[in-house]
Amino acid sequence: MQEFDVVVIGGGVSGLRAAVAAKRAGVSVALISKTHPLRSNSALAQGGINAPLGKDDSPERFIEDTLAAGDGLCERSIVQSFAQEAAKEVLWLEQMGVPFNRDKDGRLDRRRFGSNSLSRSCYTDDRTGHIVLNVLYEQFQRLAIPAFEEWFVTSLAVDGETCVGAIALGLRSGKLDSFAARSVVLATGGLTRMYLPSTVSIGTTGDGQALAYLSGARLMDMEMVQFHPTVFPKGQGLLITEATLGSGAQIVNQQGAAIQVSKDAPRSKLSLSISQAAQNGAGSAFLDLKPIGKDKILSFFPQTHELLRSVAGLDCTKDLVPIHPVAHRPMGGIEVKASGETSIAGLFAVGECACNGLNGAGRLAGNTLSEAVIFGKRVGEAAAGYAKAAVKKNFPAAQLADEEKTLAALASGDSSQDSLSAVHAELGGLMNEKVGLIRDAGGLTQALDRIARLKERYQKIKVRNTGRIYNYELTTHLELGAMLILAEIVARSAQARTESRGAHYRSDFPNLDDTNWKSHTVAKLSQGSTQLDKKPVAN
């Protein structure tokens, strides 16, 4: 058994920031990550990280823009403290070594990104997530924090109402081990892999949300899944940063004529208008990057240029790039306070797996990375503070043996002829079609029916690989299980919300309904099924 004061699960930007903050607060910390941290989904963030650093900017304007993107569902106090801390945290990143692009005076340059009302996003070319992640990993290594890389957490250990650690499978050793902790921070990322295509990495499967939910924690605003407007939609989906729009790129039809969309609208509106333009006979939409100019494309968007060439076979300095809105990031997640505390003592959550009300019904472009570092720090410190004060509880002795049995059960008995990828493919298509950009009551009912059937099919698929070392069939099985649990909750929450708001668009309820729905949806596991409640937005 491993023992630490704080165990952080997830090695992306939120998790690394939390681990660094907890360690600096003077407690023992370990990080568990199912992939190498530098391969995590944070590396895919491109456009920038928001902070009100400009002379023309202020925390107040930043608050307004964030609230506007959240479309009435943000928790104002969270947004306020976030906006107040953003500049300090971005400057901290700079001091720790992020080589942000500079203006001619050597100060941090900023660019216009998404529906920010002015240039607010600091950036490192079009690799902001990758480089922020790298610098955080540098500082993480500087503190010599033990890292359990390629370890997959299979369950949380909850004693009564208190989280006392987790159990994880070492992919390399093939062995399960217990991690006793006074506090546990979930920083496991989003869930958008339940949509196909999507913009995310293969591991973005909602593991943390499902673990927390199964342990009794509440999930909030799960119906809110943001679609990204400018994605090359073939194959796995390749996101092209909206910062290209801020730099002059145009949305056009096949003939190259501009499609009338408001480029600085929130992502939900932009996605809807691209989708509707396609349906209204304008044909597919394309992104025309040529107005940016070849030199600027190569210097500010080198990765976009490289990946469009290698993934799509397109030269974006010459070719139009087909685009379509594709599922990107959830706003909902594990319900947490500003400190990251969940409804389970000792269990904290941060970043994309968590929901503190910052993003409401729509996340402002460039806020994802800011959120990850600002709350990563805060939650890491809170988890360390909790660990210092917590009475040490024993790790339930039988749980490791129980977990062995659970994993063995997945592999025992005959498997159906079905396959995990067939179930996943059907789930992905279903979520896109019925629980995607445009939803209605009939489609959501169908979706729930089909999710129930997919769950039945899933139960009959056994893990056939009897080895334990790098058994990716086993981890894929566990990940699909998490996605099926959460898909149902996303669809149930979407069914409950009979209005349109932010990323949630109901064609049968196309209007905002503040009278009935200025509320979060909250889902909780109760006697084996999902119980849905409303929680008013605190203003």
Binding site: H130, G235, E306
Partner: protein
């Protein structure tokens, strides 16, 4: 299209011996190698192990050898490798310990070596109220180096690593450059001191394979040369290396070509009796086999003066 994938196999939980399994699968047009691997694992062999994460060329995790060349499976299109026939071989990277099938030991291959260069900036938390004021040109250089996504292709192409697996390798040395050349680093000599030791920058043979292999154009060899210059110019380099360099340059400058006898003696140091004694057996062998003229003479090449002028010009420019 029917394609046969000939995949390297090794199972540490069975006999642990390397082998190969052929899988013939029907893959759609435009499929990637990674998508084919998913299909094989899902429909034919659930035990097949291979890594991947981002699925679209961002992260470097899925690097293997496709028909012998290192490639990311997520961006490698099957059709690009079946021109000569519907067969594709898949192997782990060369000269790397393999754990299972296509999953090899990234720790031993790269991550542990990167750790050796103390891969972080020594920065203080409250160093200033605002950002460090530095030029974008300086940051652009660091951004270029930090676009490295640890795909391992530079180390895979390196010609030293197959001979000496303990060589730090171009990926780790490039990371050292990122820190040594970041103007914000409070102790930028630290990394230079680390990589200047044996198994570091002086073991690079300048074959430029790393630059040929790097898919991001980071030019690791150029970074290693810059670290050498830094080590040399800041006096960090140990004396024998410095003497070797100086003697090498002086000999070519004066005679137009390398005086190997002089290089050996001057590298050891004229007052280093113990070191010079070590050279005697080699000198004796060379003499006995007629590899060295007696008496020892090193004549000037024709046009040696022109070479001298090149040196003088370069020295002038450096000033």
């Amino acid at each position: 299209m029917q394609v046969t994938f000939k995949v390297y196999r090794k199972d540490p939980e069975k006999d642990g011996k390397p082998g190969r399994t052929n899988y013939t699968v029907d893959v759609p047009d435009g499929a990637t190698v990674l998508e084919s691997l998913f299909k094989i694992r899902d429909e034919m062999d659930p035990s097949l192990a291979f890594r991947c994460s981002c699925l679209r060329g961002h992260c470097g995790d899925c690097m293997v050898r496709v028909n012998g060349s290192s490639r990311l499976t997520c961006t490698a299109k099957v059709s690009a490798y079946t021109q000569k026939g519907p067969e594709i071989s898949l192997d782990p990277l060369r000269n790397v310990p393999v754990i299972k099938d296509l999953v090899f030991d990234w720790d031993a291959f790269m991550w542990n070596k990167i750790k050796e260069v103390k891969p972080w900036l020594e920065a203080e938390e409250t160093s200033a109220n605002g950002e460090n004021s530095v030029s974008d040109a300086a940051m652009q250089d660091i951004r270029k180096v930090m676009s490295c996504f640890y795909c391992g292709m530079c180390d895979e192409g390196c010609t030293v690593l197959p001979v000496d697996f303990n060589f730090l390798g171009p990926a780790a040395l490039t990371k050292a450059y990122r820190l040594a050349f970041d103007p914000r680093n409070k102790d930028s000599r630290e990394q230079v001191k680390i990589v200047e030791k044996p198994k570091g920058i002086w073991d690079c043979v300048h074959c430029y394979e790393a630059d040929e292999h790097c898919p991001r154009g980071i030019e690791p060899t150029k970074r290693i040369v810059a670290l050498r210059d830094r080590a040399f110019n800041s006096g960090i380099t140990h004396e024998a290396v410095a003497r070797h360099h100086e003697s090498f340059a002086a000999s070519v400058k004066e005679s137009g070509w390398l005086d190997e006898g002089r290089l050996a003696v001057e590298s050891e140091g004229l007052t280093n009796v113990k070191g010079l004694m070590k050279l005697l057996p080699t000198a004796a062998k060379a003499l006995s086999r007629g590899k060295a003229p007696i008496p020892y003479m090193h004549s000037k090449r024709p046009d040696a003066d022109k070479i001298k002028k090149i040196f003088e010009k370069a020295e002038q420019e450096e000033k």
